[in-house]
Subunit: 271 residues, 2 copies
C-alpha cells in the first residue's frame, strides 16, 4: 500500500482578532490556532498541528499572518484556500496557499515582520472602528513621533519595550524601518465627506509602521505607547534615546491597546 | 415661576447600524431612535421625541445623520455632545450640536442628502469589514457602472427603484450627482501593504456616491444592485435607461445588502 507523501503547506491568513483569546490555543476561550486546526481536521480527517509566524495576542488583528502545517492530504494546493475557507468562521480568511519544502517552518524561517499600529486622532470616534483602532481625541504631533521613532532604527537591546522581560533568550533585535504618519481613512470615512472639518486640515488616522527581524512580547504596543507621549509633547527624541539606553521597562510608556495592532506581512528567505 | 423657553436642538450623529433594527423605534428590537431618546431622557429627565433626516434601515450606517428635538433643558449647546455621549452606547456617536430656529425640522427641512454604498471587490474579503461593506469577489467594471449611472442624473420618476411602491406621495426625485469609482482602503488595508497584488493593479473598493433632493425606500440599494449587473457586463447604459423608463421594479436589479450603505450628509437651507 502506498502512503501519500507528507506535504508542507504554507498559507497567508487575515483575521479579526476581536473575538479570540489570541493566536495560541488556550483553555480560557477560542483561539485562532484552534479554529484553523479544527477547520483543517474537518477537511482532511486528521489533526494537523499548525505553526504561525507570530503569536498575536487577544484582540490583535492580522492581514498577513503566515502559517504552515504538514499533511498527507492530496487536495491540490490551489484548492486549499476555498476548501479550508468553507470550514472556517467568517473572521478568519485564507488569502493564499502554496506548497513549500519540508524544512520550511512558519515561525523559525521568518526573516522580517511588518506590524502596523493605527490610532484614530480626531474630534470624534468613528463608531465602526472601536475594535480596529485606538481612539485618542487630543491632537498628537505625528511628525515629532516619526522623528523620535528613528532612534529605534538599527540593532539594539529592546528590553525596555518588552513586557515581563525576559521572555526570549535575547532581547536584541534589529529594527529595519519605522514610520509614523497621518493617513486618510476608509473610502466611506474620507475627510472631505465629513461635515466637520478636520483640525488644521489633518488626516484622521496616525499609522505607525515597523519592520524588524523579530519582535519581543508587546514590543510594538509599548513603542506606540511611548511615542504617544512624544506626540503629546511630554517627551522628545532624546527621551526616547534615554529610555532605550536605560533598558528599564518602567522608563518607557504604557502598552497601547491590542485593538490598534495589525500583523501585516512576514518575509521569508527566497520570497 | 419662570419656565425656561423651549429650545430646538439639532445634532449630527454617526452610528454603526449593525446591532439595531434601524432608525425608527420598533417592537422587535433596539432602534437608534429609542437609544437616543433614552439617552436624552436620562440627561434632561423627560422624554423628548427625536426627529431624523432619514429613517435608515436595519444594518445601514450613518456618518452624518441629522436629528432634532425640542427641550426646555438649559444645558449649553456646546456641552450637549459630551453630555449626551455619556448616556449613549459606543456605537452611536454625537458629532456636533447647535441651536436652531423653532421651525427647523430634521426631516422636512432637508434639501439634499448624500448616501454612499461601499463594495469590496477583491480576491479575498477583509475579515474586519463583514458588517461594513458588501463583498463581491468577481471583478466588476467600475467605469461602466459610473457611465451607466449618469442616466439617473436629473429629475425622474424613480419608482422602478422603490421597494413596495408606492411608499410616498410621489416617486419623482432629482438626482444631483452620482459617481462610481474604485477607491483605496483603510490605512491598515492599503493595497501596497498586501503581499497579494491587486488584480490589474486595481484598488480594492468600489464606492457609489449619490446626492439627491430625497430618496425612495431602498432606492440607493436597488440602484446599486442594478449597477452591479452593469459591472458584471450583464447590462449596459441603455439597459439602465430602459429600466428607468419602464417604471417597473421587477425590471431593475436586486436590492444590495444594507451593510454597505452609509448616510453621509444632509444639507439644509442656509447651511
Amino acid at each position: 500500500m502506498n502512503t501519500p507523501p507528507t506535504r508542507n503547506i504554507r498559507m497567508t491568513v487575515a483575521y479579526d482578532g476581536s473575538n479570540y483569546v489570541g493566536w495560541q490555543s488556550q483553555p480560557n476561550g477560542p483561539s485562532i490556532q484552534a479554529a484553523i486546526e479544527k477547520g483543517i481536521e474537518k477537511l482532511v480527517g486528521h489533526h494537523c498541528p499548525v505553526l504561525a509566524a507570530g503569536r498575536t495576542d487577544s484582540g490583535v488583528h492580522a492581514l498577513g499572518q503566515v502559517i504552515s502545517f504538514q499533511t498527507a492530504s492530496t487536495i491540490p494546493v490551489g484548492n486549499w484556500p476555498s476548501a479550508l475557507q468553507s470550514c472556517l468562521p467568517y473572521d478568519i480568511v485564507i488569502r493564499e496557499a502554496r506548497e513549500v519544502p519540508a524544512d520550511f517552518h512558519a515561525t523559525f524561517s521568518a526573516k522580517r515582520k511588518r506590524y502596523r499600529y493605527v490610532i484614530q486622532n480626531w474630534p470624534w470616534p468613528l463608531p465602526f472602528l472601536r475594535q480596529y483602532v485606538y481612539y485618542l481625541r487630543r491632537e498628537l504631533d505625528a511628525e515629532a513621533m516619526h522623528d523620535a521613532a528613528q532612534v529605534l532604527v538599527g540593532k539594539h537591546d529592546f528590553r525596555c519595550f518588552e513586557t515581563d522581560w525576559p521572555n526570549k533568550a535575547t532581547s536584541v533585535r534589529t529594527v529595519l524601518e519605522v514610520t509614523v504618519r497621518r493617513t486618510a481613512g476608509w473610502p466611506m470615512f474620507a475627510p472631505q465627506a465629513m461635515a466637520l472639518p478636520p483640525p488644521d486640515g489633518q488626516l484622521p488616522f496616525i499609522t505607525l509602521e515597523i519592520v524588524a527581524d523579530g519582535f519581543l512580547y508587546n514590543m510594538v504596543r509599548t513603542i506606540t505607547g511611548t511615542l504617544i507621549n512624544v506626540g503629546r509633547g511630554k517627551w522628545t527624541r532624546s527621551d526616547i534615546q534615554r529610555i532605550l539606553e536605560s533598558q528599564i521597562r518602567s522608563a518607557a510608556g504604557s502598552t497601547a491597546p491590542a485593538c490598534g495592532l495589525y500583523m501585516v506581512q512576514v518575509d521569508y528567505e527566497g520570497d
